[in-house]
Every structure is written in structure tokens, then in C-alpha cells.
Symmetry: C2
Subunit: 404 residues, 2 copies
């Protein structure tokens, strides 16, 4: 059961991107598990991949292909992560790229493969290849919501968002989808994001935008702190609307940047809302740090603390746990300057209990389904924000019982 | 319910240390909650304290007093951590030191205060002071086991160990006790360790031994990754046996070092065995690293991973989770050289599934109450080991339900 409102706005088509979906029977019958993105020639494509040093086979292929070619096709399967599979896994990923390239008349290096699902099992590449014709037959621009469904593994809700922004009479559209419900699902390799805009953005600037916004969205969410071997986020700019944007000084840059940010943040937050066993959506906002990195470290320490997360699950205003997590993040500070609030309620001032705070006030805030923890370090002007969920019995059940 | 055998060997007295215990009613009536260690003049005393930047009031006092004076008394209360209490907390800790100093004719700076229990409540220093006479009346060398009980908060078993080592006809004794069952208990500040030997060791060397062995024992255990605001470990050398040891080259040094290590490792491991909700005791041993620090980072990533810990709880040989955790520890490596075993069963070789491995073999190992995960990186000669437990429903219950 996801937390809060996870209804989606209509997912708008992006001129220059078509999506085809089919049931290839990768792991289960009667389940949409194969998705093909067709990108018109002339687009820019940027990719960020997992920071895990165990890199799944498809991710190794993505890294290689994107270095020399601009992708024309994205090929995504669920049901099998093709991770921990050695050279055979790479060969199989390459075979699926080659098959799709043969059918569409592009170079195999113009195909990027993505896999998500069980780790350590042989990729049934023959089933994927057999499904390609079916997926290519149904390519259409209006398939974003369907693709949000077809990339799901154990997600309980599809994740997608669209934003339009109009500047100087020009309307740009950004649409994105994502999947993931724990950083790793039981035996699953998880986070995938696909975002496209019809703006015309140079590859270099697009890559910069993607890295920057990934750091503010997908790299700022945590459910269990586990990073998967398959995480990838892809950003496409089809160039169908407006002139070339190759600098942050372009008059339209800020508006488009903000629209992409809105989409990426939304589809990242939807992952947390669908977090394994989540009953609360928690925003941890750290201000007053000397550096952004300091703020991020502290926000992550709080967001990862099992004790803080179980306190949220219990609706227990156990502020000592938050202070302790702030204190062990590895960032030195003067504790007499630190303040902590839960939503509008100050719980800690100058490192001690806030004046007038009552347990009842804390209880009221902690019972809400969405809570913001604000930590002011009082040491500088930097800030950072991380999004997480609580740690519930259901999390243990999902992760302990999945394979049994 | 602790994991495995937690029975204690007889805790031997240390000549030069006497311990007194009483019920001071700090938080509950009819519960031993006040402990006084009396250390004879002439001893060396070393202390390591929490690395948390939120430092509890008593720890601040300990750090100040140890800088200028050799402690003659340790004053330990449970039931209240005196943390998050600001200047008033420091004043109250100092008042208890002064009261004990007045009664025993020492300087207040020769008293070290330790508090463990609820965070954020005013220390009832008057009750502690009122209990001092009673504790001093019953000072005896044979009170180690009683003190292991009297420093417990929500621990389910007392933790202590004794080792004797004989060299050149000289018998040295080391005895230690500890408390803690999560790095932080719900509202509790946790880890305390007190170790004493009758050897004669210079203060400088004693401090070096303590730092070194803390890194191999208390700093190598993790239950939930949360570091408390009150953690302290104290090592006393009373100097009653043998000549002065002020160098690692002394003929008796290695034997005594090993005896202290045995005691500290045992009382650290007993904490993990009593870990909140623990059903399995896990040793994570990393070999073949370029540096010890690399090995520690990887061992901790595995030991902290909620997904790995829930897999152990479920007795599920879900090796993909272990690989993923190894991969995100922040240590670069060549995945084709990595091997992983569970006890005697190889599960991963050269970054892929081990030849001949079967799920049934993995299942057999994972069902054991004590399991060693061996990770060989194949990149160098360094090694490190971390001890942890699994993550169970009971952990969530203990931490979510405690205050409700």
C-alpha cells in the first residue's frame, strides 16, 4: 500500500518518442514485461548508471554503447536483472541489441538494454528477441502510462509525471516514468527512470542537467540504503520544439530545467511513497550547513537510521534518536547551535529540548502520513534534502518472506 | 532472547579494583542502578568515548577529568542517559562527582561519571547522591558479576568475561563487563564497557592498547548502525602484578595484549548476541583488500544492509544482496576477482555464481544460528572483520513499541 496520493497526471506524449510494449514471457506468462522506446534521429540522450561496483551486464553494455553512439532504441525487460551473470550475461544483452538493430536497420550500438528483476539467473534472451516484432508493431507516442506499468516488477503502483512549460510562446513538454520500491527488491534490481522532453538540448548540456537533477531526485531518496546493481536513469531531448539550447544562459534554459526537475523529483518521490512496507513519507531537510555535502551526510544519517525509521512507524516523537543520528553523520558541529523541528513543531533548540515543547505536540505531528524533519545546524548557509519512508513490520515481511 | 551460548565464565576479581552497587531509584524502584568502581592509587586508566558529535553531559565531564587527573572512582548510573540536557546536565553530573569526592577524600576531577538510559530527561542527581553511602558500604573486589547486572538497561543478559595469562611464572588477570543491545536502545544511550587488569602498564601504552583493541572489538560490532551519544569504554591497569610495561617490546606485552583483546572481543560479541530481536550471529570477514579500511567499509556495508540482514533472518541464501552490498561500499574493485562464501560453502566465484553451488547448500548454511560470511576481494593482502546480527520482526517491535 503506497503512502499518500499516488494518482498520476495524464502522461503526455513527447514528439519524437514512440513506445511499444508486449508480453514476452521473460519470467511470467500474461504479464507485460518488454518495452521498446524508439527515439527519432537527431535527439540527444543522456544516461546515468549505478554507482555500485557490481555492475549488471546490461549496464555495462549501456555504458559502452553510449560512449560512441546516440541511442535510437531503448530495450527494457522486467523479470530478470541479468546481474551476476558474467560474460554470458553480456553476450545475451548484446544479442538482444543486435536483434532489435537488425529489425530496425540501426547499428546494435544504437540500442541500450535495461534489465530489472531476479539477480543471478540466465537472461532468456531468446524470449526477448521473439517478442520484439510484437513490441515494434504497437509503437505509439501515447504509450507512456502503459510503459509505466510494463517496467514494474514488485512495485504496487505505476510511477510517472508530465509537466508543460511555456516561454516566449513556446510550449515544452517533459514526461517521465520510473520503477522501484526498495533500492533493491528481494532478488530484484530496481531503480529505472526514463524521462523525455521535446526541447532541443545539446548532448553535453543534457548530460550535465541529468547528473545535476539525478543528484537532487533519484540520488536523494532512500528506502533501505541499498543501491542496486542495475540502477539507470535516461534523459532524452528529441529537439522537436524550439531552437538549440547548449548553454545555461539560454533564455529558455531555466524553465526547461525546472520542468525536468519537477518530473524527476515527482517520479523519484513516487518510488519512496511505494517503498517496501512504507506507512509514512518523510522529508529530511537540513539547513545551515557549511557545505551541501555536510547537509546531505546528515540528512542521509537520519533517513537511514533504523531507530529513527521505526520511531516514525510507531508515530513516536522520539527526538533523541534524531539527535543521535545527526551526531554520528561524521560532520563536526557545535551542538549548542542545532535546532530540530517536526513540521511546524520545534522539538530541539540549541542542542536541548525546545522551550514549551510537549510530548503531545510531537505525537500529533508524528501521526501524520507525511512529515518534514527540519534540521538547522546553524553553521553556514548550505542546505540539502533527502526523502525516505519509515521502517515497518511489513518491510521485514516483504524482504524476509519473498523467496520462501 | 540472545543468540547462542551467552553463559559467562567466572568473573575474576582484579587486585586494586573494588565495586559497590545499590538501588538508588534513578528511574525504577527495586532495581540495582548505581555502581561505583574504586580504583587504588597508582593505577593507569584509559578511556575512549563516543564519536557522536552530540555528546552526552557525563561524557563531556569524563573527557575533561581524564585530561588532567588519574581517576580513582567511576560512578555509573542506569535509567537516565543525561543526554540532550545542556548545561544543567553537566552541572548535575559534576555534582554527583563532587559528592562522591567529598565522601572519599579525593578531588572531584578524580571521579568519572557514566550515565545510560532515557535521553532528554533531567538527571535525578539527588537520588544518585543519596545512594552513594550505600554503594560505598558494600565495596568489594568480588562484585564483577553483580556489576554486569547493575549496568544493564534493556539488555536481556549480563555481559562479562575473564582471562588469565601466565608468562615467566607471572599470572596476569583481565576482567571486563559491558552493556548494550542496540547501538541505541529506544530512548536509551547504550554501549558501556569497563575492563581491568592487574598488570602494570604506563598510561600512554594503556591508551594505545585501548584505542587499538576498541577498533577490533566494540568498533567492529553493529546491530543497527546507530551510534549512541553516551558510548564509553574504560580500561584500568592497577599495577599490582609484574613490573612496569611501557613499551610494546616488553617480554610480557603480547600475552597481556592478547588477554585484554580476548576479554574485549568477548564482551563486544555478547552485545551482538543480545542484539535487539537478533536470531542469528553473523561474522563478516573480508580478505584480499588493498587496505584494512577498504575491508572494514565492505564488511560494514554488508553488516548494515537491511536486505542482507532480513535475508539472514529468513535463512534465505540470497547472495545477490550480499554482492550488491559489497558493490556499494564505496571501494572500487574488479568484480571478476571477488569470491564469497557462507561458512564452508562457496556461493560466488569470480563475480558470478560458484561452480556446483546449489540453493540447497546455501539453505543449509543460512539456517545455522551462527554464520560466517567470507568475502575475498582478490586485490591485496589486508583483512578486517565485523560482527552483526540479523534484522527481525522483533527488532521493529522492540524499537517501534517501546515507548507506546
Amino acid at each position: 500500500m503506497p503512502v499518500g496520493d499516488v494518482s498520476l497526471v495524464p502522461l503526455l506524449p513527447i514528439d519524437g518518442v514512440k513506445i511499444g510494449i508486449c508480453e514476452a514471457g521473460v519470467r511470467y506468462a500474461n504479464r507485460r514485461d518488454l518495452t521498446v522506446f524508439e527515439i527519432e534521429d537527431g535527439a540527444s540522450v543522456a544516461v546515468v548508471t549505478t554507482q555500485n561496483y557490481f555492475v549488471a551486464a546490461p549496464v555495462q553494455v549501456v555504458r559502452k554503447h553510449i560512449r560512441t553512439h546516440t541511442p535510437r532504441y531503448l530495450l527494457i525487460n522486467t523479470g530478470n536483472a541479468n546481474a551476476g551473470t558474467g560474460q554470458d550475461g553480456i553476450d545475451r544483452a548484446l544479442a538482444t541489441c543486435q536483434a532489435l538493430a537488425d529489425k530496425t536497420g540501426v547499428n546494435a550500438c544504437e540500442v541500450l538494454p535495461y534489465s530489472t528483476g531476479v539477480i543471478g539467473e540466465t537472461l532468456p534472451s531468446e524470449r526477448i528477441i521473439a517478442g520484439l516484432d510484437k513490441a515494434l508493431t504497437v509503437l505509439t507516442a501515447d504509450n507512456w502510462l502503459n510503459s509505466a506499468h510494463s517496467i514494474m516488477t514488485t512495485d504496487t503502483t505505476p510511477k510517472g509525471h508530465s509537466v508543460q512549460t511555456t516561454i516566449d510562446g513556446m510550449t515544452y513538454t517533459v514526461t517521465g516514468i520510473s520503477k522501484g520500491a526498495g533500492m533493491i527488491r528481494p532478488n530484484m534490481a530496481t531503480m529505472l527512470g526514463f524521462v523525455a522532453t521535446d526541447a532541443h538540448i545539446s548532448p553535453e548540456l543534457l548530460q550535465k542537467i541529468l547528473v545535476d537533477l539525478t543528484n537532487q531526485s533519484f540520488n536523494r531518496i532512500t528506502i533501505d540504503g541499498d543501491t542496486s546493481t542495475n540502477d539507470c536513469c535516461t534523459l532524452i531531448a528529441t529537439g522537436k520544439v524550439g531552437g538549440l539550447i547548449d548553454s545555461e544562459n539560454h533564455a529558455h534554459y531555466q524553465a526547461i530545467y525546472q520542468a525536468i526537475k519537477d518530473v524527476m523529483l515527482k517520479i523519484a518521490q513516487l518510488i519512496v511513497q511505494d517503498g517496501e512496507g512504507a506507512t509514512k513519507f518523510i522529508t529530511v531537510k537540513v539547513t545551515g550547513g557549511k557545505t551541501t555535502d555536510d547537509c546531505a551526510k546528515i540528512a542521509y544519517a537520519v533517513a537511514h537510521s533504523p531507530l529513527v525509521k521505526t520511531a516514525f512507524f510507531a508515530s513516536d516523537p522520539n527526538w533523541g534518536r534524531i539527535l543521535a543520528a545527526v551526531g554520528y553523520a561524521g560532520v563536526p558541529f557545535d551542538q549548542s547551535r542545532v535546532s530540530v523541528s517536526l513540521d511546524e513543531i520545534a522539538i530541539c533548540q540549541r542542542g536541548g529540548l525546545a522551550d514549551g515543547y510537549t510530548e503531545e505536540q510531537g505525537q500529533v505531528v508524528m501521526s501524520r502520513p507525511e512529515i518534514t524533519v527540519s534540521i538547522d545546524l546553524g553553521q553556514g548557509d548550505c542546505t540539502d534534502t533527502v526523502y525516505t519512508c519509515d521502517l515497518s513490520h511489513e518491510y521485514v515481511s516483504i524482504n524476509a518472506d519473498y523467496r520462501s
